[in-house]
Symmetry: C2
């Protein structure tokens, strides 16, 4: 079973790496045959090439922050996040919950993101 | 596809009904053959009798509050919650994320709860 503190650290590293645009760093968190469903309902992306393409497309233009504690349950975890996008002064915010499953080495085997664009809202000073 | 606003209402009703101990009200939110995995990693409970037994055992002794927006993604949704338990002045808090899947009638077909007892912490005035 992966260490709960390791899982919490992954969820701190993940927004940090995303905000820096460090796609290699993000890929190192994932198992080779991992899957991503982001947002839920979209086509499943599987494996390193698909995961790299996904993050290369999504990093650089958004800022992600964790907004509450990581909830760990065995091999799985869920975390509330907010993603900020758009120019300073006109930023938009999207509330997301991400769930991840982990293998025995602590690598992410599956990531699913709960959000939809119809929940996009103006960012507030609290974001 | 279920209406996103209906899904958000279910996630407002759910803690209300739980806090009142209204097990019939909770059951009415679920489809007949729904499953519950609470916490994740425990045995799956399936169907009305198992769901009734689960909520009869868990209501009455805890208070649940939603702590952030419901994230809806198509037929699924995720919500951050806190559960408070124990006597006044010595209350403990447990941070939970619940995910639900819905059928075309807006009934819950699956509920999964991300938490573990090792994350139990003293309740604060903000809870």
């Amino acid at each position: 079973m992966p260490d709960p503190n390791h899982i919490r650290q992954v969820y701190d590293r993940y927004p940090e790496l995303l905000n820096k645009g460090d796609v290699d760093g993000i890929l190192a968190l994932y198992a080779d045959d991992a899957t991503i469903e982001d947002p839920i309902g979209s086509d499943l992306r599987r494996g390193r090439d698909a995961i790299r393409a996904f993050y290369e497309a999504s990093t650089g233009s958004v800022t992600m922050k964790r907004t509450g504690p990581v909830r760990v349950a065995g091999r799985e975890a869920a975390t509330p996040l907010v993603v900020l996008m758009g120019p300073e002064g006109q930023q938009q915010a999207l509330d997301i919950i991400s769930t991840m499953s982990f293998d025995e080495h602590g690598k992410i085997t599956a990531m699913r993101a709960f959000w939809s664009f119809d929940a996009l809202r103006p960012a507030t000073p609290e974001d």
